[in-house]
């Protein structure tokens, strides 16, 4: 699974992307457990950031697959 980090989440991870080893589909909370194990500084972002898969926001209950591209989207502030 390719994980993309933006804005504050990129700062916390210290990089823009990361390949997360995932063997089976995972829930959103399982994703956060895996990703914060690698990047503990992302832990506070779990409360505020949303996830997107394939450039669409993840809907409640949807799973994330091993081949998905998942973006960590902190609260937006464009315009």
């Amino acid at each position: 699974m390719k994980v993309l980090f933006f804005a504050q989440s990129r700062g916390a991870a210290g990089r823009g992307d990361y390949i997360l080893e995932v063997k089976k589909p995972v829930t959103e909370s399982e994703f956060w457990a895996l990703v914060t194990a690698v990047f503990p500084a992302l832990e506070p972002h779990q409360k505020t950031a949303r996830l997107a898969r394939g450039e669409s926001y993840l809907q409640k209950g949807e799973l994330l697959g091993p081949n998905d591209e998942v973006a960590v989207i902190p609260p937006v502030s464009g315009g």
């Binding site: 450039e55 926001y57 989207i73 937006v76 502030s77 464009g78 315009g79």
Partner: protein
């Protein structure tokens, strides 16, 4: 509805020029420029820096426009959002909306900006 979306590192000139001729049914052009203020929160700033998840930002904007078009039919929309460093006094965003009558354009613009600030993955960093 004609849709033009641009994310750019270049200055957003004021006033903006539309390349294509206006739709013959256009009777109103509503425009908005979002400008970088001197203060962000309590701090005085020389500039803001914007970044985006560009491909998703454009996709989400198109989805928002498709929904709003059903509520407020318009002829055309042009969105330009600047990325990178934007000095104070310069525009971070331009939105122009052509409609038959002004009310649809005003409503479309207001709701589009609300949706953009809620869901479009663009961030400002002081």
């Amino acid at each position: 509805m004609e849709i033009s979306i641009e994310l750019t590192g270049q200055l957003i000139a004021r006033p903006q020029k539309w390349a294509a001729p206006f739709d013959p049914e256009t009777g109103s052009l509503v425009e908005f420029y979002g400008i970088v203020r001197e203060t962000e929160g309590a701090a005085k700033i020389p500039a803001l820096r914007y970044e985006a998840y560009a491909s998703m930002a454009e996709k989400v904007m198109r989805e928002k426009i498709a929904l709003l078009e059903k509520k407020h039919p318009c002829q055309a929309i042009r969105v330009v959002h600047r990325l990178g460093t934007v000095p104070r006094g310069e525009s971070a965003i331009y939105v122009g909306i052509q409609s038959r009558h002004r009310q649809a354009g005003f409503l479309f613009l207001q709701e589009f900006m609300d949706e953009l600030k809620k869901d479009v993955p663009i961030w400002k960093c002081a």
